[in-house]
Symmetry: C2
Amino acid sequence: MRAWDATTDVLVVGFGAAGASAAIGAAAAGAEVTVVERAGAPGGASAMAGGEIYLGGGTPVQKACGFEDTAEAMRAFLAAATGPGIDEERLDLYCEGSVEHFTWLADMGVPFKASFCAEPCWEPPGDDGLTYSGGENTWPFNEIAPPAPRAHVPQMSGKKPGRRSGGWKLMEHLSAQCRESGVASMLDGRVVALVSDADGAVAGAVIRRFGEELAVRATKGVVLASGGFGANPDMVALHAPQLCGQMPLGTDGDDGSSIRLGQGAGGFTRRMDAAQTAIPTVPALLYPSIAVNRFGQRFINEDTYAGRVGQAAVFHQGAKVALVMDEAIFESVPEADRWGARPTWAAGSVAELEAEMSLPTGSLQATVSLYNEHAARGCDPVFHKRPEWCRPLRPPFGAIDLSALPYAVFTLGGLVTTVDGEVVGSDGPIPGLFAAGRATSGIPAWGYVSGTSLGDATFFGRRAGRAAARRERRPAART
Amino acid sequence: MRAWDATTDVLVVGFGAAGASAAIGAAAAGAEVTVVERAGAPGGASAMAGGEIYLGGGTPVQKACGFEDTAEAMRAFLAAATGPGIDEERLDLYCEGSVEHFTWLADMGVPFKASFCAEPCWEPPGDDGLTYSGGENTWPFNEIAPPAPRAHVPQMSGKKPGRRSGGWKLMEHLSAQCRESGVASMLDGRVVALVSDADGAVAGAVIRRFGEELAVRATKGVVLASGGFGANPDMVALHAPQLCGQMPLGTDGDDGSSIRLGQGAGGFTRRMDAAQTAIPTVPALLYPSIAVNRFGQRFINEDTYAGRVGQAAVFHQGAKVALVMDEAIFESVPEADRWGARPTWAAGSVAELEAEMSLPTGSLQATVSLYNEHAARGCDPVFHKRPEWCRPLRPPFGAIDLSALPYAVFTLGGLVTTVDGEVVGSDGPIPGLFAAGRATSGIPAWGYVSGTSLGDATFFGRRAGRAAARRERRPAART
């Protein structure tokens, strides 16, 4: 028990997109804000992301690119794609507030170029500002809601995917805005404990920094926003064992510390096994090929969002999946764009390929035969691949063993929060404790759509910061 | 803040198999024990169960029926069938202690007839004491470990499945043993809150009974054992949305109250979306038929544990599954054993059936063609159904739409515990708080094997009761 070393109104833990948005939201509502970040600079996993931000309902960029969209269509799509188990209220707010949120991001200085990227890609290779990112224009979603592209990408040149891309640009502007808003930042600091008052309200945190421990009082609240738990092997083994052995995306900071701090204060978690699991190939190879499981069967329309194919592979096919193609498909993708992929197997006939792949006798032959029969007529009545990607496979054939490659994964489960970011425990919201971003279970329930992480991190980060700032200042108490 | 109304050493919450075993275990270790149960009699969901108890490693019943088994084989099977994400230590203890646990159950007076039921069934219709219950002798498990039947069923005559079966017999003996052990029972009482000491240790509980609230002190500990949360629609929607609309097995008492009480005291949960989801058909119809998804494909060897087929259907096929058979298969099962099932569709050819079922053109034809081609040779190289169930389907054909029928479900997720039943929170075990049975996440991780619920409820219930009884008595403190 000792005195506080410092006092702020709102203490934000983690300086990624969620934390920065919470800080800006809290500062805009008049609070004094401090962000503590364990790395030596802002950014976190957000700065390594491609930068897609899921926004719709008719943003200026959508309109300028000639796409019509409504909040209803956006909602219907997300309800289908991110379930099962969506939060109705959260999704309503997110879709109805999306155009306003675009404006807010633009006001922060985040640049979006009004140009549409139509080519199959994980993220636009150039500086286009808009693309499809969830299979909106593919089955079954094209039958559920009018499709529109909704991934808005901050414009930048000289991208280095995975290192310096649209997410980096987003964080450049959000962190600059934090500085302009008078947000104090405390880098190289780790929150090691929350401090609660006798009545259970969270009153501050203990921060370890350069070998010292500082007790920082937060008169209005603490916002936990330091990411998911993909970099914590124990938590992954306990909660999301299907990710073991795969490649966690993000930073070392994704160690689940916000989730554990929240749990320690009585916060509930949910959907802890949910994850994005990107299939280890490029869409340009995936779309025209067929993805087959260990029974030699197709299991999805290969031209849908590649993250969705990855989820289907990991969660429903035991990650035992191969990509079957022909030479024409392989050669259609320039070597530089293939991620170095080479066929694992090659053969002059499907029967031969089937044997080389150790697939059950007749299984791949039946699959290719049915696929080719329909593809010759430009259709795929079984899995509904779009006609432009339906072409019969012709010898020579090849296949890439995707089970030998790591899936890039990040976790989607986390703290249960209200739509204002309050962390929920057994007696409802825990006073003074907020969370946002991948430390929470948010817009993506079990299904994932690219752009919903930065989307809900910024959208609900703002709300969490604002809600914290609006709390009454609590009188000082000793730690 | 008021005085305690009563004092006991160990307070057990819930009088099903886990609670009864905890009570007996605690009493045997010298503690004074009280069981509080919200219903008017002991039993809970356990008394409605078929009664299979998963035991192996060479029990007297296994030996008398001529089956060899080892703890290693049992462990290898359970590791494969109940994963991903098994607890190594828990599984080791369970398998190594299984023969001793059989002896304990027999000592409790639970009768097991040394006879083996070989017919395809959810549970033995007669009074046989041993059967396969997890697909041990089916692919892929028959390649992983030497198969042995391990479901031990208490012997009883006059079974009424779902109402009065082997589980009822088990509870008859466990509750009698509680009385003989001097365990006090408080029926019609609900625990509405746990009471913690200033140091965070759980010291007792508040019980609502006949309109009054009683504060009961537990000098050694509280054991939460009042079941899962299948009967709590809010918790199901939040944590296990894929069970929405299905038929919860168990009682109204499976409202997650133990889980919520444990969470309120800081306990962690895990695997909250895991569930047993029984496919709504009888194994005798299932094994010789083929189960197909909405793409007209098979997805599993139909002769494996029917609960495993149900999990595959619900969690990997969106519960959109039909059972395709021919007239000979349908007629081979007496009407009384068919659960009243009638074919939803009937047709003279596979093409016609495919159209009636609104399956993609050619999909079911390709599936039946491949299946029949192999079945004619008595094999199934794709899904490895055992030869005795492989027979080509011949016209006339029929199919039962299983998506129109409710899956019987119960939840498998719950509190995180040590192998001694201590509930784990952010600082490790919470002093004085224990849990067992389906209030915890135990032997079945995500995969399920019939008999592992009563198996781990009784096995780890005993351990939890014993561990609670061995704690030092805490001095009295006011509530």
